[in-house]
Symmetry: C2
Subunit: 431 residues, 2 copies
């Protein structure tokens, strides 16, 4: 079937899904968990096919590890589903109630966004996590996983679809896309798809953002900074920078540029260099940095580069303000951290740095939905609308206004015969 037809089916399903009782959704989640456990051998067999093919194609070891779907990963995703069924239904929650006049009451009520296009990387467990999050939040979903995992994804998708639709979910609420061409077609379907959440390489995400009229939530770059302020505890500032740079280099919240106040540069830079080099980090620096430690010169491009590798650019700045200005010009609005004992400096940094995550005296690596306690994460957003930073289930919800009257027309309010009361109310929307 063509992608447009699949998306139109998903849109129809999304309408029905939005009105579904929470207990039906929880029963469907239970059925999905059971189906995965009961059919685990079939899933593992499909995964073996993917692993064998990928090994033959020379897939790198860390990616092979992510591709593997075994008992441990199955148990993790099933535990994630159990967590979701234990949660209250996030849909239909009254966020605000206002009496406009006697017998005319306004409710703002949470609802799903509609149809989500989700593009994710090689881990097949992500397919289960994303589709169960969408189910619980009442969204229909078009899924596109990594092609390395195609057999596993197909097996998981088929089980989830059959179990959930068997338990009462509207047919077509979940759809699987399989090729890059499918994704390209999806980008034009703004009539049916409400939001695209892409994960993957920077260039791929940027391509999606540049080529669709559909709103995109996510991030292309993760150019994160640590700024070591005057008076910083040297050991703390070394630990934080080394952890932020080296603990996991290939992730978006890893450190890419280190900024150092000039008053502390002579004490800090040599110790930082020693600790970084012990971890195999290659440093490049500005002129002032190179006056203190012997490192190659950074080029202009370095300040705008997300290395995602054991490389770090270092710049000495003359003030907190210069550091903030550098971050606002060269950062990507992802995560930036200040190391300082000075509360006032921290306040200025956290207020003036325009990023989703602004940290004081800790590693940039903490920006993560699980770490933040949001439950499963659908992605990290660096845009400035709707949701920002790590995005959990809340990011898949919006609201509608329900106004319950008893025959009111606007005319008497317009002439001044009747007046609005605008009285805040407690209590849930009755319909």
């Amino acid at each position: 079937m063509d992608i447009k037809t699949l998306a139109a089916q998903a849109k129809d399903a999304a309408i029905a899904l939005a009105a579904l009782n929470g207990s039906v959704k929880d029963k469907a989640l239970d059925a999905v968990a059971e189906a995965l456990l009961t059919n685990k051998e079939a899933i593992f067999a499909a995964n073996q096919e993917d692993l064998a093919r990928s090994e033959k194609e020379g897939l790198a070891a860390p990616l092979m590890k992510r591709l593997k779907f075994d008992d441990k990963k199955l148990n993790t995703v099933v535990a994630g589903i159990r967590d979701l069924t234990a949660m209250d239904d996030p849909v239909g929650v009254t966020q605000r109630a206002t009496e406009l006049d006697a017998g005319l009451t306004l409710y703002r009520v949470s609802c799903p966004i509609g149809v989500i296009g989700m593009i994710f990387e090689s881990r097949p467990d992500a397919l289960v996590q994303i589709s169960s999050l969408c189910l619980k939040s009442g969204n229909a979903v078009l899924l596109k996983g990594g092609s390395e995992a195609k057999e596993t994804n197909r097996a998981l998708y088929t089980l989830i679809k059959e179990a959930s639709e068997g338990a009462g979910l509207p047919a077509g609420w979940i759809q699987l896309l399989e090729t890059r061409q499918d994704v390209a077609e999806m980008l034009g379907l703004d009539e049916y798809i409400d939001l695209i959440i892409p994960r993957g390489s920077n260039s791929f995400v940027r391509h999606i953002m540049d080529n669709s009229n559909i709103p995109v939530m996510g991030h292309a770059d993760g150019i994160c900074h640590v700024y070591v302020d005057q008076g910083a505890d040297i050991a703390m500032a070394v630990d934080i920078a080394v952890d932020a740079k080296t603990q996991y280099v290939a992730v978006c919240n890893a450190l890419e540029t280190l900024l150092v106040h000039e008053s502390i540069a002579k004490d800090y830079l040599p110790r930082m260099k020693e600790a970084m080099e012990a971890k195999g980090v290659e440093l490049v620096g500005c002129e002032k940095t190179r006056a203190v430690i012997d490192v190659p010169a950074a080029t202009k491009a370095d300040w705008d580069t997300e290395y995602l590798s054991l490389k770090l650019s270092v710049k000495v700045v003359d003030s907190l303000e210069t550091a903030i200005d550098h971050i606002n010009r060269h950062g990507s609005g992802h995560t930036d951290s200040i190391v300082t004992p000075d509360e006032d400096a921290a306040r200025r940094f956290l207020s003036l740095v325009d990023a989703a995550n602004v940290f004081w005296n800790c590693s940039t690596r903490f920006s993560d939905g699980y770490v933040f306690g949001l439950g499963a994460e659908v992605g990290i957003a660096t845009g400035k609308l709707h949701a920002r930073g790590p995005v959990g289930m809340e990011g898949l919800l919006i609201y509608k206004y329900k106004l319950l009257g008893s025959g009111q027309t606007i005319e008497p309010y317009s002439t001044g015969e009747k007046h609005y009361t605008h009285r805040k109310l407690d209590g849930d929307c009755p319909v």
Copy 2:
């Protein structure tokens, strides 16, 4: 100065504005109110120029009325500014606090979006309302008003800029664009502008939405429906439809298509026709409608047309589900209302109709920020992200995550040596 330079200035100002103390913003608002009152003769003189030129150019009477800026309108906008200064600062509000571990606390704190591009219609009072809303919410703003009001807008803009910057607002936080060419340039400046809020004709708003990478909040169409269900009180259903269609025909929340359950069509349609025709409404209908009342046939295009005039399309449907399906296919997600005594039918309609505003037993004309008690309205959004329906100050805000640590690195949490506590906290972010 070119638009790019103005936008870059606004972006710099936005950073400073985001960190400004609430009392500075309130003092600036006071200064603006005083400046408007003190210089009212100059504003009125500028307005006379606009009125004289527009009269010569044959501007229609209702638009002349909107263009006029007199003592009454001045007092209204000044009262609006006083309302804003009486409000708490909406920026820097802690929305959520979570202890991640001892000495590592996460706060989600409200912040401005950044730089707003605001395009509005002929009323010069809108310039004052919008800029004071942006000021209070800490956003920089590029304003483009109707060209009929250009002298008045320039006078108001100059007074607001001088008074607010004199009271401590960062230079360049407010900018005035004057031509359509300025707007065209603005659409490409996604590096500096975070959100565009266009108001104006449908075709103009659609043009903006189709021609910018910058997120757009607003609506192009307002194809609103009233559905008269079986068992509806006939008099109530006539009153609501007539009010929704005729009380103000040129607005986006006016009725465009009336849907009627077939079981009530014979009783309802003749009385509806009589009442509509008494107000000068021209009806077109589907075949089933025309079997009951004598009206011209509706064409396929009628179901997708926002008339914004005294014309109404009427369709008889065989069920609530058919009505909902028609609305979801042909509506614009703005405002749709059901008239029914049946709570179950209302619940289904309000859940299944995918619109920002879903009403029960009242006129579609109630969808408005002032009516909803949101204070000043920046627009009505029919998108499904960030803000939906009438959008007040809240729509100009987003949040950032502030994480306050004491030297934490991720490594010990990754190895399992340390664990997250994820304890919900009360209290505000201290920095």
